[in-house]
């Protein structure tokens, strides 16, 4: 009973709270990083160096008026932000946050579920999130959201293929679809898959930027052309849900990148016994640090690169990333077969 219900529920509560708080502070971090890049100070007024800014933002969003356009399709308009947010949070279920730890002498693995189809589950869940964006655009019954929704869904569908193809090459390298087994494979091989699959890592990084609608691929909400894209008509808490979903998605893709390419919760050089003192840092700390480094890359790229044009985006996706990913799979498979002889 305790193993079946209580422990998973506690884990779910901890993971959800952790992610939601991380989202709040990720927004602050983003504003700060952008400010530092542009030699500004960023938010400074609320609390020392602006550390209470997220609290103020959330309060503001809570008390804002929630507007539903008169001509909107009410039920779909209400449902859309939920459809966007839920997949982002549900995908966290298969991500291993750390090694098995013992709490009160009881071994507790630090993941919510270890599915033997973990990676496919992530793909499936992510593919549902697209609906929220299309429906938000459609149900607003307004031209900019509709255009933004169409753009965004075309972008997500195109780049989903590239992401899934990189997953295939990682699975070829690890021999398993389970997230836990992929980390174990990196331990037994003694190398992060970032070095085994550098091409896949490159494709994944570019495609992940596009999948999360982040700069330089933030076309669905390109302010100069589309006001705010698919969520133009949303306000108050419902707008906050879209915001939350975007950042939760960033955390999910960063956590997946950490798991697949950077050894997940493994410490650096897990097989070098000389670095034994690194073991004093708990495994989940390594995971958090690595994930934040990947997240920092997102913020850095946003502050550095200008936005791509829509036709450039489609060309990169279909004519560069997908053929490259397919070639990578063929080479990986060939090398794997050659090595097994």
């Amino acid at each position: 009973m305790i193993d079946l219900l209580v422990i998973p529920l506690i884990k779910i509560v901890i993971v959800l709270t952790g992610v939601l708080i991380t989202v709040m502070y990720l927004v602050l971090l983003e504003r700060k990083v952008q400010a530092w890049v542009q030699t500004r100070l960023g938010p400074m007024r609320v609390g020392p160096h602006g550390v209470l800014q997220p609290v103020a933002d959330v309060l503001k969003l809570f008390v804002k008026e929630d507007i539903t356009p008169v001509r909107a399709d009410k039920s779909v308009f209400m449902l859309a932000p939920i459809i966007v947010l839920v997949p982002a949070l549900v995908a966290l279920a298969v991500i291993p946050f750390g090694d098995t730890v013992s709490i009160f002498g009881k071994p507790v693995p630090l993941y919510i579920a270890d599915l033997n189809i973990g990676l496919l589950y992530v793909v499936a869940v992510a593919s549902i999130g697209v609906y929220g964006i299309i429906l938000a655009g459609w149900s607003s019954n307004s031209k900019y959201p509709l255009l933004g929704g169409l753009r965004s869904s075309a972008q997500l569908i195109s780049y989903e293929l590239a992401v899934t193809l990189t997953f295939v090459s990682v699975v070829l390298a690890s021999g398993s679809l389970s997230m836990v087994d992929i980390i174990t494979a990196q331990k037994t091989n003694g190398v992060w898959f970032a070095f085994v699959q550098p091409v896949a890592l490159f494709i994944y990084t570019v495609a992940a930027l596009a999948e999360t609608n982040r700069a330089p691929f933030d076309l669905p909400e390109a302010e100069q052309e589309l006001v705010a894209g698919f969520h133009t008509e949303y306000s108050g808490m419902r707008f906050a849900l879209f915001f939350l979903a975007e950042y939760a998605n960033m955390i999910v893709v960063s956590a997946i990148a950490t798991t697949l390419f950077f050894g997940g919760w493994l410490r650096p050089f897990p097989n070098v016994t000389m670095l034994w003192f690194l073991d004093y840092v708990p495994s989940w700390m390594w995971f958090v640090v690595k994930t934040f480094l990947v997240l920092y890359l997102f913020l850095w790229i946003r502050a550095t690169l200008p936005r791509y044009r829509y036709d450039q985006l489609m060309r990169i996706g279909w004519k560069l990333l997908i053929p490259l990913a397919i070639a990578n799979i063929i080479v990986t498979a060939a090398v794997k077969v050659a090595l097994s002889y």
Partner: protein, 169 residues
């Protein structure tokens, strides 16, 4: 008992959403019900111990094909529900033929089961709980020819779509 309860609950949802798909007046609503239907079908697969099929169901149908439906519907923008066909008698006749065919099919299946129960199906192999590898092995050994044929069919369809879309290649 618990299994049967879960099965019939899922089946009820699947049928309920199926009915909603064809009765919904708004095309976008209808598509949303279709997605919900697919998700419940995936749940049914997962419940039957076929997680791989369940996930593929979600990826391919709910996440892939239906998104394209939604695209088409939004671009075409059907403000009015589709009108009924002018010739009511013709519609009735067509419905009659379709329902008779379905009925004949059902009767044939029932009769076949009654005459020779269990025949026609290959003996079910015991499934391991971790059946992804098993599915892969079966696809690339016993069912290699159908698998390759299906991929050829998809390739032909893709080439056909491109030719139709761009006539002046």
């Amino acid at each position: 008992m618990g299994q049967a309860l879960a099965f019939y609950t899922l089946a009820a949802f699947i049928l309920g959403f199926g009915v909603l798909v064809i009765t919904a007046r708004n095309t976008v609503h209808s598509i949303m019900f279709l997605v919900a239907d697919f998700l419940f079908i995936a749940a049914l697969y997962a419940f039957q111990g076929a997680p791989f099929v369940a996930v593929i169901q979600v990826v391919v149908y709910a996440g892939g094909i239906v998104v394209l439906y939604l695209f088409v519907v939004m671009l075409v923008d059907l403000k009015r529900p589709p009108e009924a066909h002018q010739d009511r008698r013709r519609r009735g006749r067509l419905g009659m033929v379709v329902s008779l065919v379905v009925l004949a099919e059902l009767v044939a299946i029932a009769a076949y089961k009654y005459v020779s129960p269990g025949a026609g199906l290959p003996a079910a192999r015991p499934l391991e709980p971790d059946n992804v590898a098993q599915v892969g092995m079966l696809l690339y050994t016993d069912y290699l020819v159908p698998f390759e044929l299906a991929s050829m069919l998809l390739l032909v369809a893709m080439v056909g779509a491109i030719v139709l879309a761009r006539r002046e290649l």
